[in-house]
Each structure stands twice: as C-alpha cells, then as structure tokens.
C-alpha cells in the first residue's frame, strides 16, 4: 500500500498555487510517513498521512484546480471578503475528502482555501488530487470542488463600485454536486 497525504489549509494570507502543485509533485517523489496536525497564526493547517512509505512514485496523475477572484465588466469587484466558521470548515472539508476517498482510489489530496480580504486575480481556492491514473484524479477534483461549494461553511462578501453585498448561493452549484 502506498502512503497518502491529506492537507487542509485555511489561510489568511495569499498563497501560490504553483507552489502547492510543486509540493504535491515533490510529495510523490519523497514521502514521509509521519502525520501531524498544526495550527499557525496565519490560519489553520491540518495534515495527516496514512499508509506506508514503501512505495513511492505510484501516482501517475496529478490534477489541480485553482479558483480566483473575478473582476468582470458586467460585475466589477474591487475586493472580496471571505468569512468562514473556524473548526466546522476543517471538519466539513475532511468529510468531503473522506467521501471522495471512498469513491475513488486516490493518492494525495490538498485543499487550500483563503479567508479574509481578497483582491481580483488572487487565488481563493486550490484543490489538488493525485492518483494512479488521470480519470480518478480529474473526477475526484471536480467532486471535491462541487461539494466544497455547497457543504463547506464559507461566505463571500463583494465590495463593488455600487457598494457591498453578500454573494447569493446559486442553485447551479447544488445541481453540480447533485450529479454525483
């Protein structure tokens, strides 16, 4: 059995999705068997490792998704505030990851989500999934995003030239998760 890493990060500072992707590629090459849970002042960071490290390089596919703050002509946004429910957020993401691991045979999973004030172009969310083959990784990445959208307790408030308003939940997001 190969080792699998799960990382959940809730960050108050901007992050680099390329670094997250590189970290997952590196994890496939050199693997640690020690699991740990740490909480830092910049947010929370949960990490767990299961399995043994006897097999490395077993994941042939890595699919990553990065969601970013948009600033559209028809919907201009100066800034966005991301609020969450500390403690429940991590539990909800762990539950979603558990569902994905029951459904597909997956390697490493990294979900990173920003909270606090964000500006157009900045990454909001990163989801990375590795697996033996691409199909599982592609499907699981979409599954994780679809469920994050409807089950993880985050709320967005947009600051626009016309004022500030909370973003309304979209029924299309519920439909997207419903297809699984």
């Amino acid at each position: 059995m190969s080792a699998t890493n799960t990382r959940i990060r809730i960050l108050e500072d901007s992050f680099d999705p390329a670094a997250m992707s590189a970290e997952m590629t590196a994890s496939n090459i050199t693997r640690s068997t020690t699991g740990s849970t740490t909480r830092s002042t910049t947010g929370s960071h949960t990490e767990s490792t299961t399995g043994s490290s006897t097999e490395n390089n077993t994941h042939g596919a890595l699919v990553t998704f990065t969601g970013m703050v948009r600033d559209l002509v028809e919907n201009p946004v100066n800034a966005m505030l991301l609020e969450h429910y500390p403690g429940m957020t991590e539990r909800a993401l762990e539950a979603i990851i558990h569902k994905a691991r029951e459904r597909w045979t997956l390697g490493d999973i990294n979900i990173t989500h920003r909270v606090g004030m964000l500006y157009p172009g900045e990454p909001i969310v990163f989801v990375g999934v590795s697996s033996a083959h691409r199909r599982e990784a592609f499907e699981a990445c979409q599954f994780l995003m679809d469920y994050l959208k409807i089950e993880a307790p985050f709320w967005k408030k947009e600051f626009t030239p016309d004022g500030e308003h909370w973003v309304e939940a979209k029924s299309s997001d519920t439909d997207a998760a419903g297809r699984w």
């Binding site: 969450h84 429940m88 539990r91 909800a92 909001i124 089950e151 307790p153 985050f154 709320w155 909370w166």
Partner: protein
C-alpha cells in the same frame, strides 16, 4: 447553557455574533433546533423575520443539522446562510 453563533449576513442583520441560551430551567430550555428558532424569534421583529425565512441553515457542534435535530446543554449551535465558498 447553549452557545449560539451567527455568521455572514445573518450576523450583520441581527447585529449579533453570539448569544448564550440558559438551560437552567429544563422546562423552558429548547430541545430542538426548531424550538431554539422559536425562542430566538421572540427577541424582536428582526429576529422573527430572520427565522421566518427558509434559507437559514444550522449546525450543532460544527455538523450540519435540521429543524428536528435535538440540542442539549453544552452544545454549540450555529445559524448561517447557504454557503458561497470556492
């Protein structure tokens, strides 16, 4: 005591992040999410209107709950709008 938290636009509209509900008198302590909503709705028009709306979700001890879910002393209950992360 039941700790009750409010998030996002619900917190802003109620101008309240947390209330503590006493459970000292078992006869008046709410035993379900629905009963807690009824109790909170008595705090004023803003509160009554808020809980009359369908789109108030709830969690008990950081797990999603429904109107029928039982609550007891020591629980942390949260009310929030549909989530919009990602």
């Amino acid at each position: 005591m039941i700790k009750v938290l409010f998030f996002a636009q619900i917190r802003e509209r109620l101008n309240c992040a947390q209330v503590d509900i006493s459970t000292d008198k078992p006869s008046t302590a709410p035993s379900t999410i629905a009963e807690l909503k009824t109790l909170l709705a008595q705090r004023g028009d803003l509160w009554r209107l808020m809980f009359a709306e369908q789109q108030v979700l709830s969690a008990i001890n950081k797990v999603m709950s429904t109107n029928d879910s039982p609550i007891q002393a020591g629980d942390e209950v949260a009310f929030f709008p549909p989530v919009t992360g990602g």
